[in-house]
């Protein structure tokens, strides 16, 4: 049975189509300005579509909506379909991708090197991420999950700084190695006798049953714990979880600003999304091993990620690297929230996972904003070395204000979005894993330390320290331009909205997660 709504297909492929247009227009040697604005407008259009998907998602009906379904691959041993759809879990993440895509495109206004190529890759990246969040077929999910590597490789290695080739290759190899495990995991799931579909969720309206129902209690082709681990490794690399986080600081530090925004903002979220959809979604009633059995050990890993990430963050002297490591710490909270699946009551499980999902959304906007501000500051000072900076507040108060907002949201100041998600994670994981949650709470304390200390060293003081940027350059520093405010506000508004009125997103996530928990 096939159904074709179309809106998601358009949302996913609009950026790709725009990329194709730019590519085909290359022989005409269009002005860079035209290409730039064309690309920006296409991301805005994608954002509008993603907002429509988010707002039009019927919360009273729930389930999977906006389905596009066509049979795609039907080989003897593997059958897959082109199946797009959003449920409560993916709808906010689609919106997040739309937001971050627009912010990233705006933040790329100053790219002058090989402009059309740059935007081709950036748009393809957005399309790939959008595809990950909307595809409900396991193989299609994997296709998008892997495809995202190519644009990232290109973007980091050509437009990056520092050691871009090295960082890009490291990113690729880590991701592909993780993806390789998932690839095998997909086969292992599909080739289980009782499973005859790759659909990740059941869609009763179309008469499609999903893997979670079919795999429940079935005799698996390999131990359930092994298949679980295959998926987990792929997502743990991507999230990233200690000790697989090694690629992240390099990739972030050397990537151009907009790519860091995308990487921190949405790419890491693909992993959290995958963990909820697959690791939790599939393995609740599997024979011999369920996700509940793994929650304990994962909570330990989460606590280590949070605290280790935070301690390493404090030691950083490069602003971008600092924020990159803080992502390791904050993504640890996501994992911690997920470990609430080991709880006894449905309310705790739901709350923890909901907190984790919200943490993904808020971290996307907060860290996106932080990277954006670092990028803006770096464009002016040409250094990110913290000891070389100081007194920036006097020269660039607007950048300073928004840096503050990002920083405070990141350390969990109430009324900003980071607080809501972290409190949800703690409240629900503490009853289940008091030690892990308790230790992780230090992550918040340390976050206050590294955020405030960095802001103090870079923005305060009367002038840059001796040996830092020369006084003459300092005097010539300028503040953000009016157009810079567009990406800044696009990212700041959700921080406030969720901080003050979290229901906007929490309720949607809740519908999705209720559907996944059985």
């Amino acid at each position: 049975m096939s159904e074709f709504n179309g809106i998601l297909t358009v949302t996913v492929f609009l950026p790709a189509l725009a990329a194709l247009v730019i590519l085909l227009a290359r022989p005409f040697n269009l002005e860079d300005r035209i290409v730039r604005w064309f690309a920006i407008l296409s991301t805005v259009a994608t954002f509008v579509l993603s907002a429509i998907v988010f707002l039009a998602y019927d919360r009273d009906v729930g389930g999977v909506q906006f389905i596009d379904h066509i049979s795609w691959l039907s080989a003897e041993t593997i059958k897959s379909s082109y199946l797009l759809g959003v449920d409560g879990l993916s709808a906010p993440l689609v919106l997040l991708t739309g937001i971050l895509g627009t912010a990233a495109a705006f933040a790329s206004r100053n790219i002058n090197l090989r402009v059309s190529e740059y935007f081709v890759w950036l748009l393809l990246l957005e399309a790939a991420v959008m595809g990950v969040f909307t595809s409900l077929d396991l193989l299609l999910f994997f296709v998008f999950f892997e495809f995202e590597v190519i644009p990232m490789y290109m973007l980091i290695s050509v437009w990056g700084s520092g050691r871009p080739r090295y960082s890009a290759m490291k990113f690729v190899l880590f991701t592909l190695a993780g993806g390789a495990f998932m690839f095998v995991g997909i086969f292992a799931v599909y080739l289980t006798g009782a499973v005859d579909t790759l659909t990740m969720v059941a869609i009763p309206e179309l008469g499609i049953s999903g893997v979670p129902e079919q795999i429940a209690g079935a005799n698996l082709i390999a131990p359930a714990s092994l298949i679980f681990a295959f998926f987990l490794v792929a997502f743990a690399v991507k999230l990233p979880v200690w000790p697989l986080h090694n690629w992240l600081p390099d990739a972030h530090t050397d990537a151009p600003t907009a790519v860091s925004v995308m990487l921190a903002g949405v790419l890491l979220k693909m992993a959290g999304y995958g963990m909820i959809r697959i690791n939790i979604g599939f393995f609740q009633e599997t024979k011999g091993f369920t996700v509940h059995d793994a929650a304990g050990i994962l909570s330990v890993v989460a606590a280590i990620s949070v605290v280790y990430g935070a301690i390493v963050t404090i030691r950083q002297t490069d602003m971008k690297r600092l924020i990159a490591y803080s992502s390791v710490s904050h993504m640890g909270f996501v994992l911690l929230g997920l470990t609430a699946i080991g709880g006894n009551t449905a309310a705790i499980q739901l709350g923890g996972i909901n907190g984790a999902a919200l943490q993904m959304f808020t971290h996307g906007t907060i860290t996106g904003l932080a990277f954006l501000m670092v990028g803006l500051a770096y464009d002016r000072t040409h250094t990110r070395h913290i000891p070389h900076l100081g007194g920036l507040w006097r020269r660039m108060p607007i950048i300073g204000i928004f840096f503050f907002i990002a920083g405070f949201a990141s350390l969990g100041l109430p009324a900003l979005s980071g607080f809501v998600s972290e409190i949800m994670v703690f409240l629900n994981s503490f009853p289940v894993w008091p030690w892990a949650a308790g230790i992780s709470a230090f992550g918040v304390v340390l976050a206050a330390g590294y955020v405030l200390w960095m802001i103090q060293r870079t923005f305060f003081g009367s002038r840059p320290p001796d040996g830092g940027i020369p006084q003459k350059n300092y005097d010539e520093l300028t503040d953000a331009e009016p157009l810079d405010l567009i990406p800044i506000l696009v990212l700041t508004i959700p921080i406030f909205v969720i901080g003050i009125w979290p229901k906007t997103v929490v309720d949607v996530f809740k519908i999705g997660i209720e559907g996944i928990l059985r």
Partner: protein, 505 residues
Amino acid sequence: MNAQDYWALSPVIAMAGLAIVLLSADALLAERMFGGRRFGSKRALSWVAFIGLLAPALLALNLWFGWVGEQTSDPVVYGTFTADRFALFFQFLIIGATAAVILGSVPYLNQFRDSLGEFFTLILTAAAGMMLLVGASELITIYVALETTALPAIALAALRRDGFSIEAGAKFLILSALSTALLLFGLVFLYGYTGATRIDEIVARMATLPFEAGVPFGSLAVMLAVLLIVAGFGFKMAIAPWHMWVPDVYQGAPTPVAAFLSVASKASAFAVLMRILYAMADFDPVANDWQILFALIATASMTVGNLLALTQSNMKRLLAYSTIAQAGYIMVGFAAVGAASSSGTATAGPQSIMYYLAGYTFTNLAVFLGFTAIIHRTGDDTIAGLSGLVKRSPVLAILMSIGLLSLLGMPPTVGFMTKAVIFSTAVDQGLIWLAVVAVVNTVIAAYYYLRIVGLILFGDTDNTDRTRPSTGEMTAVAIGVAGSLVLGVVPWLVLQLIDDAITIV
């Protein structure tokens, strides 16, 4: 011989006839018969060859659709040849590969102005041999077809007549002879056990013979035969541990010849091996044993190919190792050959292998022919020579990058889809470890493929002359890339075809 026999053989006959036409045309043109300048008119040969390929292609299409003539998919010519859809599928691949190689190598062949006729005659003869091979259903025919394939290929490898090329030819000749000897030895065991050379008779006899059957080793003789046959074809398929000749021959042979060998020669060997194995699939003493044999060969081939490719600095050698690794991936599918899949049918193995080969044919031709277009202009066959290609020839650079990404198995290209299908057959057979090894191998391969893609797209170059490939070269590469994208995005197109073509089970 009756009408049916001729119809069944018609594509092969047309191909062989075309080879003779080319040989005669070359002789005529050499005498300046038409008063043209010697080489100027010889260039027409490539167009005669290219357009002439329409004849075998149309005749094969006729057999597939059954337009005219008396046709049958049963064995014909006293049971020696079967023009079933399985054979036709591979004949299409071979004709297509031949056409692409001819189309994509016209400028390259300028350097062979004295032996242009030989080149076409040899390549068409080899193609005729392969087309015979994929339909051969009798042991002696298989042997004869294989030799018809091998001898022209050896001459082609030595065509450049420089040190590397002669070495390639000599090495190819000796190892080819050795492999054929092994194969013959295997066929002899099969004959000794069953007393028949026709595959259908062998199947029938196996079903009734006692396991001892009054021959040395009893039914073990069949196992031994399988081993020797696999070893014999192993050379053709370029799988480890019979891969030693591949890098040397690919490096020494003219690049279009390497392209031809890497695709057509491999595909035909895979086809005939599948046909032989399916004949024995119901023979209990061996059927379950070859799974582990193929799994080990696949592991060795993938690992050796990928690890050695990492250290190469010569592009042709790297591509050679890459084809060894690719053959290893195909062998993963062989582990499912003859065994029933979880859905109860025994067609999973051939389906995955044929899909892989179809995708591989397009992709590998794109990469090899793209490289052919570059190498004969720069004369530099190192990987470093590709540096900054995008500045010299942007379209070709992008096409080659897509081809390389497809070889690596990156979605949404066919390389990904075929790997997904072929690895799933391994998991289906319970060989999860094999799928893990295969997937880990693709990660290793990512390193060297991406390094080349990186060099092509971002490398520095002093050479700012724009390399302008000819229309023919560009078309051949573009068709290859288009094929690898289309087959990857809409796999059902070819899977439908393949389902019709699995007639050997």
